[in-house]
């Protein structure tokens, strides 16, 4: 539902704007599949700032923990990352499902420290979309939603902002559903 309220292009535009504002990188140098680390020289403080800007723009809470950390918390230590800090076969399977194109070349045994390079504007946009996509049909007041200030979803009657699940909850719910459906772990 939310994807139709805030279109994919608008989300991508805001992601790129957040990167530009944070890093000062030339807007024209950003593509949906640019690696934030390898292509745009985004550093850890910048990551924090990009996420913060997206949270402010969309009224969401981005995930604080990495998807493989959630895997290990839910399904056991060593399931996604082995004793050498490399991604396991199941970890790769999860990342390919979660990150699709960005992880298409990922192989088991990839060191965990190579994973930040997989972050792209497209993966950040997907993370925002996943959260917005869980917008309830109606607001708590039973009213429809509307877009306020361009990118924030609010109740059309009360003007209160939509309360959406956090990025961490989205990932945990996705993993739980996936496990119920496919018994990966």
């Amino acid at each position: 539902m939310a994807q139709t309220m805030i279109g994919d292009e608008r989300i991508m535009q805001e992601v790129c704007d957040a990167i530009v504002h944070t890093t000062g990188v030339d807007r024209d140098s950003i593509t949906p599949d640019s690696s934030l680390v390898d292509d745009l020289d985004v550093l850890s403080l910048d990551f924090l700032d990009v996420n913060y800007r997206l949270e402010q723009v969309f009224g969401v809470k981005m995930a604080r923990n990495f998807v493989l950390e959630h895997v290990e918390e839910l399904f056991g230590e060593g399931v996604a990352i082995d004793e050498n800090n490399d991604v396991t076969e199941k970890g790769v399977e999860i990342l390919k499902m979660r990150l699709t194109e960005a992880a298409s070349d990922l192989e088991p045994g990839t060191p965990v420290d190579e994973l930040p390079a997989l972050v792209t504007p497209r993966t950040l946009s997907s993370a925002v979309k996943d959260i917005l996509g869980l917008l309830p049909e109606k607001s708590p007041a039973g009213a429809d939603w509307k877009i306020d200030e361009g990118t924030r979803i609010v109740c059309s009657e009360t003007g209160k902002p939509a309360v959406l699940p956090s990025g961490d909850e989205v990932v945990q719910n996705w993993l739980t559903s996936l496990q119920e459906e496919k018994q990966i772990f």
Binding site: L36, V37, L43, S44, L45, F47, L48, D49, N51, Y52, M62, A63, R64, N65, F66, V67, E69, E72, E73, E77, G78, I81, E83, N85, P111, V112, D113, L115, P116, A117, L118, V119, T123, A127, G167, D168
Partner: protein, 146 residues
């Protein structure tokens, strides 16, 4: 034995800008004890920057970086505790504590310094296992990181 090393250099002004702009930055990155320690200083920012650099250096030593994808939760899993003498000590929590166990890390040391507009931190771990190529967590940002 295997040696793990990480280093991070940070501009204090950049940390200050992020800290002041993002209302939840402090609680997202630091433990309450760290915030109490830094905020008790006449100028907290060099201390906040030093601790941020220590956290980043620790993540580099582990070879995980911050994980990207907004995985900022890891910063709170590294805590810099100050002993009465002022010597910093690393405490690990959550997934990093588990990772340290998995890698059979014994000793950990951290050193922090700041001057002018820069804070720097170096972290070393000693673990079981054999030395491998480099055995040094370079982190996601290259030689100097940030």
């Amino acid at each position: 034995m295997r040696l793990y090393q990480g280093i991070d250099l940070l501009e204090i002004d950049r940390l200050k800008a992020a800290y002041d702009r993002q209302e939840a930055f402090g609680l997202n990155i630091y433990t309450e004890a760290e915030l109490a320690y830094c905020n008790a200083r006449p100028d907290p920012y060099p201390h906040l920057a030093g601790r941020f650099a220590a956290k980043e250096a620790c993540l580099k030593a582990f070879g995980v970086g911050m994980g990207g994808f907004g995985a900022t939760g890891r910063f709170r899993e590294v805590e810099v505790e100050s002993t009465p003498s002022g010597k910093p000590v690393l405490l690990l929590h959550g997934s990093l504590e588990k990772m340290a166990r998995r890698l059979k890390i014994g000793q950990m040391t951290v050193s922090i310094s700041h001057a002018d507009n820069y804070a720097v931190a170096s972290v070393m771990f000693l673990g079981e296992g054999t030395a491998e190529e480099g055995a040094a967590g370079e982190g996601e940002t290259g030689e100097t990181g940030e």
